[in-house]
Symmetry: C2
Subunit: 482 residues, 2 copies
């Protein structure tokens, strides 16, 4: 534990992580054995032939968590069961921080099998020239290895102190690789009992092999489908071309006007409530030297097309957008048909950032359009909806505690990253439980998740568990310090 | 014959229309009998059950034209035969004006049959409160009645003088109501022998019951299909939205920029060679009091969307346009898919006016687009082509002769109208034979062509034939006077 972390945690810290980290170090071999057992279960959720293996994995998780004094139930769903495990002091008079940990016990299919160097469910400990020791198996990184970083951290706490520094609920699902069809109904039914102060989702990666990351910003979404109606029927462009209004032309003009020359969106009120990242955050992101050129180059692009004065990373992580996702109107078959169509449609979607409300953004779109509609053209909308962005207050105690703990372990300030897209589990937690999530994980880009020879660095596994030991301590200290 | 026409025709006129008009008047009853015979043949080209009736109609036309000394052949095609009839002085040393008259002997199906007041092929002479005597039958106006105005005019000339004032070729097709599939191959094969100085197409209408019209301007056409390619694949708008260029947005911007605020097209060089109609022509058109509001109102529009400072009639008849006939890109199925598409496409077509060349206009479109394409977006084109506008020089002798002849007959200056669309037969004559066409016809808007109880005013039939007598004389005089 660094001096700095001690200082951040302040007085009143009951538990001493160094002891717990020592326990973890002594239990290294047992932890690896347990992970190997877990990896041996071919819990492929997409293939009905492996349904029993999924049940076996759920049972294995339940037993493992029971073994470290969690109260566990395996809850049936229409698909694979949910493992729900709880540990709390039970002292209701002294409320403590409560975290919900999320992971999944199912894995991707291993195909193509013959591309594996060893059977995918027989975990191999291999020496890799870049990463040193690695564990190779389906699910090693996604997500069994990551789940076990947290479970082993809890085990070390229990073995050392007989308690956890915070109340913990663990939710492990078995359908993440199949689109999580049972998750929302389950949260709907059991939401109240699952709600915690914060969700910790361990299914993401580090910034690089030496640098931890916290995903703290996820853009929200709003969407709307617009249909413009002009003439009462499709017109012959020879007979009517000139005086007749063409809805495709009007739609083109509406689309063209959505951005000004600097790439800023012109919808009234669109940026109300939107803050720029702090100068410190911007500086930190710039220091990442994110390879925007490489990022765009992989999909055949070279020039950032977003707002001027924002880097590619900022355009992705903290700036809202509007996109036309689809457009159709008039004759689109082969050859020529000289028609002025009665209608033209476009599907719009927005990526939102904290401070924006989907409803207001859609209202703004309507206002933008009605302000610009020429005579004889009417607009109708359908398929509208959305969800707000997730943006952690990076100065909040829980966030600072998590970041400080990671820094203590890795000797580097964690990179606070955003994610341009909403992530279903995070959205579900927000929508169903009203709970924000921090995404902390220890995967690396070259872990080959979903591919043959998936691996997890032994250092990810061990330092991941050590990170959770520290994070749990730091989160516990937040309330104690408050 | 009015003093004015005598004066316009000038010295050297060999034939005196008054005699011919007298012949026509005396032969009134016979003409009506012949039209009734022609109308009795149910020559429905779209219905194979009436194939023999179509052959019968072709034979009837051939016999009728042979009866007035035309040299006639009935030429087979893959569909219905073409009737080709020729009359000329045969004096090769003294070249005379040569006109090609076009009409069609096929008719629309009569459905719904029970909406007819009498059987559709049993022509009825009825007194109509508005129009006086009318002839009611399928094909009375479209196009058998109109064809016979010309044939009866030729008969009167032959009966009176034993000759026609100009060399005449008559081309009657039997597939006009089925899209004329055999016409282009026929012109391709026999073009040279059909080429005349001018084509006279009798398949259009008067301005109103008292005012004749000549359609002298037909807009041309150019077309191009544009595909914009951006990212190398469809992108997730969460992961890439912001810095990634969206081809639909670029397409919208291109479409929006095609017109300036006054509705003028911004493509470089687009208006090169385009002349405004003469002040006299504009004045004449304004005097028509064309009901632009009613024209647009019928298709659910109210405000002319074309160039400022041009009336609806001018926008339609003498101003070029660009239209987007179709557009497609991204996801267009039900619901939402947050994609940034790799591609977006639009089909463009231009209506051209005299002075514009399709190739140059398409080149201009390419230049416009390449000037505006942002980084990372490429444009490809396909399906390009077109045909120039038809615009008669209204001061040319043949035009003035025709207009003068119509004025003599009707006591009113004929309205010189344009047509916003190209007309296939006119385009075929231009493309295949290099010959321009004037459209002169005597139909009225309430003739109910293609509908039950189709009619042709007896006055259209009789004054139509008188008009052709005068037009043939006047055209004959143009060369004599030259």
């Amino acid at each position: 534990m660094t001096v700095r972390e001690k200082s951040a945690a302040g007085p009143g810290v009951e538990n001493c992580p160094e002891d717990v980290l020592d326990t973890l170090a002594r239990g290294r071999a047992g932890a690896l054995t347990r992970l190997t057992e877990f990896l041996a279960i071919p819990s492929i959720s997409t293939d009905p032939a492996y349904h029993d293996a999924c049940l076996e994995a759920a049972t294995w998780c339940a037993e493992t968590l029971r073994g470290i004094d969690f109260e566990v139930s395996v809850e049936p769903t229409d698909g694979k069961p949910m493992v729900v495990a709880r540990w709390s002091t039970g002292k209701g008079d002294e409320p403590r921080p409560h975290v919900l940990f999320y992971g999944h016990y199912d894995v991707q299919p291993p195909d193509p099998l013959d591309a594996w160097n060893a059977p995918p469910y027989d975990a191999q400990n291999v020496h890799d020239p870049t990463h040193g020791k690695i564990i190779v198996a389906r699910g090693a990184s996604d997500d069994k290895g990551q789940v076990m970083t947290f479970v082993e951290a809890c085990r070390a706490w229990m073995d050392t102190t007989g308690a956890l520094p915070v109340d913990v609920t663990v939710l492990l699902e078995g359908e993440e690789e199949s689109g999580s069809p049972s998750l929302e109904p389950f949260l709907e039914a059991h939401g109240k009992s699952l709600k915690a102060d914060i969700a910790l989702v361990c299914d993401t990666g580090q910034w690089d092999a030496d640098t931890p990351a916290i995903t703290a910003f996820l853009r929200g979404l709003a969407f709307s489908e617009l249909t413009l109606s002009g003439p009462s029927r499709d017109l012959h462009s020879g007979i009517y071309g000139g005086p007749a209004q063409n809805p495709i032309r009007v739609l083109g003009e509406l689309i063209a006007g959505l951005h000004d020359e600097s790439g800023r969106i012109t919808i009234p009120g669109f940026y109300e409530g939107v803050s720029d990242p702090s100068p410190e955050q911007r500086q930190a992101w710039r220091a990442l030297n994110f390879d925007g050129e490489g990022f765009l180059g992989e999909v055949g692009l070279s020039a950032p097309a977003g707002e001027e004065d924002y880097s590619v990373v900022e355009q992705l992580w903290c700036r809202p957008t509007i996109e036309v996702n689809g457009i159709v109107g008039g004759y689109t078959g082969p050859g020529t048909k000289t028609v002025i169509p009665a209608e033209a449609s476009a599907k719009f979607s927005f990526r939102l950032v904290p401070g924006q409300e989907p409803d207001k953004v859609i209202e703004g779109l309507h206002a933008y359009i009605s302000d610009r509609l020429p005579a004889d053209v009417t607009a109708t909308y359908r398929g509208e909806g959305g969800s707000p962005a997730v943006g952690f207050d990076t100065s909040a105690p829980a966030f600072r505690a998590t970041a400080g703990a990671l820094e203590s372990e890795w000797g580097k300030v964690p990179v606070i990253v955003g994610c341009g897209a909403s992530i279903p589990i995070v959205e579900a937690f927000r929508t169903r439980l009203g709970m924000d999530a921090l995404l902390v994980g220890f995967a690396l880009e070259d872990d080959a998740i979903h591919s043959p020879n998936e691996k997890y660095n032994l250092s990810s596994f061990e330092k991941g568990a050590r990170s959770w030991v520290r994070i749990l301590a730091a989160l516990g200290a937040t309330r104690a310090a408050a």
